[in-house]
């Protein structure tokens, strides 16, 4: 036993905001291993410029955002390629956002509806001035050349001649 034992002193100190009450800064950062698991083929599809929804093998319900099992009947679904064109179901332009996206503001979110699909798909709209965005506007999927394996690997632009639609 060493009665003179000492823990090592360090130099990083503490960032203090207030003394009464004491408020200090705590840095918090992690690397997190996220598995897309059963949704993985969707993200692989984006890298091949394919937009994959899913279709129920029992009741034929078509999901524009894929789900491995049907929300109506619980049966397994199969992958189902969506058409590259759809229409804006609804939209918003965000001037603020979560911190992770603040630098990207303003950006426009849209829900896209596709012919033959029962549900919608959340994406971003590019290249349409805010005053020209409207529900029903025909849009076309574009894909990033360098995939990041994120849902933002696909985004939508106005179809050629859409303003005359």
């Amino acid at each position: 036993m060493d009665p003179n034992a000492k823990l090592p002193e360090t130099q990083e100190g503490t960032v203090l905001f207030n003394l009464d009450p004491i408020i200090l800064k705590h840095h918090w950062e992690v690397d997190y291993l996220h598995s897309y698991a059963q949704d993985s083929p969707f993200f692989a599809g984006l890298s091949e410029k394919k937009l994959l929804g899913s279709k129920c093998t029992a009741c034929s319900c078509v999901y524009a955002t894929p789900r491995a099992h049907c929300m109506e009947c619980g049966s397994p679904t199969e992958w189902h390629e969506l058409p590259p064109e759809g229409r804006i179901h609804t939209f918003t332009t965000c001037f603020f956002g979560g911190e992770a996206f603040l630098a990207e503001t303003p950006f426009t979110l849209i829900l896209v509806e596709f012919e033959g699909a029962d549900t919608l798909f959340l994406s971003r709209l590019a290249g349409v001035p805010e005053e020209e965005i409207r529900i029903g506007l025909p849009v076309r999927a574009r894909f990033l050349r360098n995939s990041k394996f994120k849902p933002t690997d696909v985004y939508f632009v106005a179809m050629d001649g859409a303003q005359n639609d």
């Binding site: 207030n18 918003t92 001037f95 603020f96 979560g98 911190e99 829900l111 959340l122």
Partner: protein, 428 residues
């Protein structure tokens, strides 16, 4: 067979941007002590356990914070559990307390909830909240709840002709009501022009269409008839609870038939594609189940007031329709009719009709603040005081006291309409 369940006491901390002088345990203790002081005959040993709610482990950065609250209140080793369900966390917690009593498992249960959102900046806070959306498909696209609600109301405007001016009326009403509520974080007297001229957040929602982030706690004590009779002169009955859900992803809302309330018929909605993203079928089902349990046929006649989850002006309008205060599609005109405003208050607006079912007399989340795990309980506390007719005693002023309220509803709402709770409170 379930037993009758009574509210016997309530307490809240002031909702504020930050409460650095109190941690979550002390905030809950303050709300709990306020409630206890209102029923002096109730002693700690008469309490059988607690149900503690908070939404986000990220905001709290303390796992198992629920038991720390329970411990701090002096309730160990009695039973306790944590309840969490996004924005509906507080409302679901009240319903858990109801179940503890109704089932006979407890005779007296503390329902307490909190949130401490000031520990990160507003935009990190928005990021934390957005983690309550699908992290494969939704969050990475630009996860932002105000954006999700903006898309929903754009569709509501498209389907039904709802306008920004109608939404602004909700903001004016709730902020004005809060000027008589000393617990509220953001009381204000506003005009339509001021609401519309405020900073745009996500088209068409401005800063004044959206609730703020808050620190705060709220507490309700629920009890069996035996305990209520023993310790409380004017308890309030919970006569019905209802809960509904929907898919996490806004994109997953297929169309089907409208869930009808007792006073509606299918012919009302022959051409309505429902719920789409413009309506909350979970809110509709929660209302239906609660109304059935409470024996309510027509909520417009049966309810004297409603405290509902107005995180956005638009969601208050959507919720009028879900709760059957008006038909689907009529929420916009209903918002400006005057029927949801408090009688006798000056809002600086020309309102064509008299007050019928005041909505958010307290000021709601828009003006009281939204410390998520406490918000639903805060609504319950104000509704309880309203029915007890003790608003003046607790708020120190009487402007928000309705004359003869007999029955009220509280409505708590999560996600993009993902969990919704509706509970009916009644003066016995």
């Amino acid at each position: 067979m379930t037993r009758p369940v009574y509210l016997i006491a309530g307490g809240i901390t002031k909702f504020a941007k930050a409460h650095p002088e109190m941690d979550f345990r002390l905030m809950c203790k303050q709300a709990f002590d306020y409630a206890l002081a209102d029923v002096p005959a109730l002693t700690l040993d008469m309490i059988d356990g607690s149900s503690v709610s908070y939404f986000s482990d990220h905001f709290t950065r303390q796992l198992m914070a629920g038991i720390m609250v329970h411990d701090y209140l002096g309730l160990c080793p009695k039973p306790s559990r944590r309840i969490e369900g996004g924005g509906a966390t507080g409302g679901l917690n009240i319903q858990n307390g109801y179940q503890e009593i109704a089932s006979g498992r407890m005779d007296c249960c503390v329902v307490v909830g909190f949130e401490t959102m000031s520990h990160v900046n507003t935009w990190k806070g928005n990021e934390f909240i957005a983690l309550a959306s699908d992290t494969n498909f939704d969050f990475p696209v630009g996860g932002f709840y105000s954006g999700y609600y903006a898309m929903m109301v754009q569709r509501h405007m498209h389907e039904f002709g709802t306008t920004c001016e109608q939404m602004a009326h909700v903001s004016i009403k709730n902020h004005r009501n809060a000027t008589f509520n000393p617990y509220a974080q953001f009381p204000a007297q506003l005009s339509v022009e001021e609401v519309r001229a405020a900073q745009m957040v996500a088209t068409p929602l401005t800063m004044l269409d959206i609730c703020t982030m808050s620190d705060g706690a709220a507490c309700l004590i629920v009890a069996s008839e035996e305990v209520a009779e023993k310790v409380c002169e004017n308890p309030v009955l919970i006569t019905g609870i209802g809960t509904g859900t929907d898919a996490m992803r806004l994109a997953d809302r297929p169309h089907s038939d409208v869930v009808l309330l007792p006073h509606e018929s299918g012919a009302d909605y022959e051409n309505l594609r429902y719920p789409g993203v413009h309506s909350f079928r979970g809110g509709r089902l929660a209302s239906k189940l609660a109304y059935e349990a409470a024996g309510i046929g027509d909520p417009r006649e049966a309810l004297d007031f409603v405290e509902l989850h107005d995180a956005y002006t638009s969601s208050e309008i959507q919720t009028y329709e879900d709760m059957g205060l008006c038909r689907y599609g009529e929420g916009g005109p209903y918002a400006v009719s005057g029927r949801t405003f408090m009688p006798g208050l000056d809002y600086g607006l020309k309102l064509p009709e008299a007050s019928q079912v005041p909505v958010n007399p307290s000021g709601g989340l828009l003006a009281c603040g939204h410390p998520v795990g406490a918000s639903g309980i805060m609504q319950g506390v104000f509704a309880f005081w309203q029915l007890q007719r003790t608003i003046e005693k607790h708020l120190g002023r009487a402007e928000l006291q309705l004359a003869h309220p007999k029955r009220g509803a509280i409505h708590s709402h999560a996600g993009t309409g993902t969990y919704i709770s509706v509970s009916i409170l009644e003066r016995p």
